[in-house]
Symmetry: C2
Subunit: 198 residues, 2 copies
């Protein structure tokens, strides 16, 4: 359905749609908005796509595939849990840097899109992400790298939320680099903001 090497125009239109979906929301973006931004009429979009839903679908599924492939690479590597946690965090901030629109759409629209059957794969990806973090955190605790009194479920949620919600304010090429942000965040997460011995 979505397969093979995409022609240019289709990809262009998806990028335009992604930006609008990210900025104004899916429901709040009309097909006429997308068409106007692309310099064509709204009906012409249906030469390229079945529906407005198909557009978000293709945007999100393509992104998720890339993202989880890079998570898998980290998991397969031969380092300890704490290092894997660090790498996953850095990787997530890098994803925000490279695909801000896609991340924003997922953050803002996932709950709504999940009410449709065709977006069930988003729930699967959520579960996959949850497993990943829970495994790493549990490993970290039992190996002694992380504090024993951690509630891993809560810690997972805090990490997930703080990392991804950064898409709301992070702008590529403005202020901090995504690497610098990841550094600061990891410092806070791992060692806290209080002075030691407080």
């Amino acid at each position: 359905m979505t397969a093979e090497a995409a022609p240019t125009r289709r990809t262009e239109l998806l990028a335009i749609a992604a930006q609008l979906f990210a900025d104004k929301g899916f429901k709040n973006t009309t097909v006429r908005d997308i068409a106007e931004a692309a310099g064509i009429l709204s009906g012409s979009l249906y030469h390229h796509f079945d529906s407005k839903e198909s557009m978000v679908d293709e945007i999100l599924s393509t992104f998720q595939e890339q993202l989880f492939a890079s998570y898998d690479a980290v998991l397969a590597s031969d380092v300890d849990a704490r290092t894997k946690i660090e790498q996953c965090v850095r990787l997530s901030f890098a994803a925000i840097d490279e695909h801000p629109h896609e991340v924003a759409i997922f953050q803002n629209e996932a709950a709504y899109l999940l009410t449709f059957d065709r977006f069930g794969y988003l729930a699967d990806r959520n579960a996959q992400s949850r497993n990943l973090w829970m495994t790493l955190l549990t490993e970290g605790v039992s190996s002694g790298a992380l504090r024993g009194d951690l509630d891993v479920t809560l810690t997972y949620r805090f990490i997930r939320d703080t990392v991804w919600v950064a898409v709301r304010w992070y702008r590529p090429g403005a202020g901090h680099s995504h690497e610098a942000i990841a550094d600061q965040y990891l410092t806070i997460l791992l060692d806290g903001i209080a002075t030691t011995g407080g």
Copy 2:
């Protein structure tokens, strides 16, 4: 405009609308949805409110007023910066517990609503909140209670995001209490998740 002791029915309708706005989004909730949930016809809503916009407006402004009043109480108290930070965090999780719909609406719809003049006060509240946290964090750093190498702007964003985004998964009366969540979060924020001496 919004003043004085509210009659019962109006408040009921606002509560119904708030739940729908929080669950499905403002744009994605129709006046017919609200009316149906209230057991009346959509036109009858306009006996109580000017417009759909007026409903969110009243929901959000009322909540923000309460919230910032309680922040002010903390700021006026005579304790050190670190204690004030702790109290503000606890207070925020308590707000999520007591007004989950209002918090969710503000989190999800603020960006969109800010495109209308009438919601300009939301930007003012954001600035007010930013000032509050930046002041407390800067005080904490200069008094030596917080680490000197902190980027206070980034730290402010991390705290703000992590606290408020909890509204996405926190459900009053299920699993952890909001106090327990605040405890865990403060532990992580202040002392980190790594074992000391790592």
